[in-house]
Symmetry: C2
Subunit: 382 residues, 2 copies
Amino acid sequence: MSDSLPPDSVGIVSPQTYHFDIPLNLACGQTLESYDLVVETYGELNANASNAVLVCHALSGNHHAAGYHAPDDRKPGWWDSCIGPGKPIDTNRFFVVSLNNLGGCHGSTGPNSIDPDTNKPFGPDFPVITVSDWVQSQARLADRLGIECWSAVVGGSLGGMQAFQWSLDFPERVRHAVVIASTPRLSAQNIAFNEVARQAITSDQEFYKGRYYDFNTVPHRGLMLARMVGHITYLSDASMGEKFGRELRDQAYKFGYDVEFQVESYLRYQGERFSESFDANTYLLMTRALDYFDPAYNFGDDLAKALAPAKCEFLVISFSTDWRFTPARSEEMVKAMVAARKKVSYAEIDAPWGHDAFLIPTPRYIDIFTAYMDRAAREVGV
Amino acid sequence: MSDSLPPDSVGIVSPQTYHFDIPLNLACGQTLESYDLVVETYGELNANASNAVLVCHALSGNHHAAGYHAPDDRKPGWWDSCIGPGKPIDTNRFFVVSLNNLGGCHGSTGPNSIDPDTNKPFGPDFPVITVSDWVQSQARLADRLGIECWSAVVGGSLGGMQAFQWSLDFPERVRHAVVIASTPRLSAQNIAFNEVARQAITSDQEFYKGRYYDFNTVPHRGLMLARMVGHITYLSDASMGEKFGRELRDQAYKFGYDVEFQVESYLRYQGERFSESFDANTYLLMTRALDYFDPAYNFGDDLAKALAPAKCEFLVISFSTDWRFTPARSEEMVKAMVAARKKVSYAEIDAPWGHDAFLIPTPRYIDIFTAYMDRAAREVGV
């Protein structure tokens, strides 16, 4: 570990790729014959493999959740605020597993991977993946790593949905599910925003019905628009106001359609940067995984009934200004958990940052998360 | 008036075009040498021209605010719920003037009009128009119609901004300003959504830097996306949930990127219909008029100071679930009006329909609006 890295960092980390060749049957009816998962781990697995924590990522996340890939990296992993020595997911006690989900674009098999049947990228032929499919693939990863039962499965947003789904699909293999800034299912408005993003991508002339790889191009503008819309929904009106207000980029109005306000410049920049690093087909896939998530669907919309098999304890956390997945949506989960007589702790955190608050170490959030994980650690003797 | 039309309709109406050839100096520094305004009127102007009400439209509105253009029209004008015999803006008492704003695409001079200098559509050469410019052009229309002082200037959303601006720019010419579902200025989030819409339009390959008329095309996909985003912000999460929930278009999941949920189908339809009837350059212009509106800008952000010249009475109305321009934004206006010692009435209406609630005749909304306009009518003896 480099001396220049913060002392509470997991330090320099390297991803590792695991290949799986037992066919995976997917919810959509298709089968993936084989696939790779790219994984990072932090901390040490203890002798009886009881201290493992699975971290699940959200829409645009990846396996690089904590630490640095190189000493001169400008930024650490996406959840470095919560993973590391002395942090809520304390790597002095836990063995943390973080993977890029199936269908992703950061090393795990996804639409931009080579389809062995055609020797070309899958593109639109890559199957639609659901949260349940991810959980299946993560269970195989657990098998490979020798982890029979997770001390905790943890995630924010779409990651929280995976934690929730674990409790239903593998009740014997999860002690704690930590579901942060999430929802039991998307609202019509949530789906609508996803649909705008998808339409932006698929209507880009460079999309070529998802086969843009073959044309050596990417639907840059569509992906940029999708990210811009998404980004607005991750922030709160208040935090955007605080950060940008009506600040102009130049001294006075220019009366035109180029950038006038700083917030426009920021959004364009975010959108452009994202469109250079993220795969458009993966974006479509991730938004659909969000749309389809609905554990109560096969239980007459009764979430408590869906929760019947769950055996773990739950920690549910929401954020006051999150208008994408409001505290009310977390409370739906909590009510269903209570109705199903599950053990559940719930906290709504006052934080101005909207949905993105789950990435930001607000003291009360960190305290509650830390206390809960401390209990989980002590349970397994670490 | 056709027998088949509702008895509280203004009946069959016809727009009229007024030509103006005294140059109009615009806020952006440019000058419009001449222009047309297309106008509808409902009711009769009284002998001393004291019973006139100006209705101002919002982003996608036009001059056709009430009644029908033909007996077999499926829908009346956009604010027919509030304009007509016995309605809040009672055409048995008031003479109502409704115009398509300058820069519009429904008959008034705008980007899709022929530029007399080039004999081609203005396109991107059409100047940026502000709310103040509209008020100037509306004042000239008032002159033409022989209206020295409006009994009321009334509008929702961007229309409310025009009512507000009238009170500042022509304090002697307005008795009442009715500002509904509006805001004293856009927030960073509001601007951000507008910017997404603009980027969607300008990044459409059919946009041709605004000269799409010359290429005999329109940026159909961009305009569709812009409308889809806009539409989401006009509705509330609750009303979308009520209307669509997670209803599927077919019986079961199809696991793909075509329409799965009814809300997707609805949004695509709305977007497509809009993109066939609205001009993309006008959309850009209207969003910028929203962005630039900021009457406190030249008064050190002190709205009360900006209000000093106003002489009219104000009615301000907001809607509980409007997250585009929340009740808090209306309350900012009201506070400033109180601080500036203006006469103001304020009501927040409980309504589930988000921003669009200003178009929907909720009983309490209609009652308050009617009572206020009744007083305005009696003041001028009608």
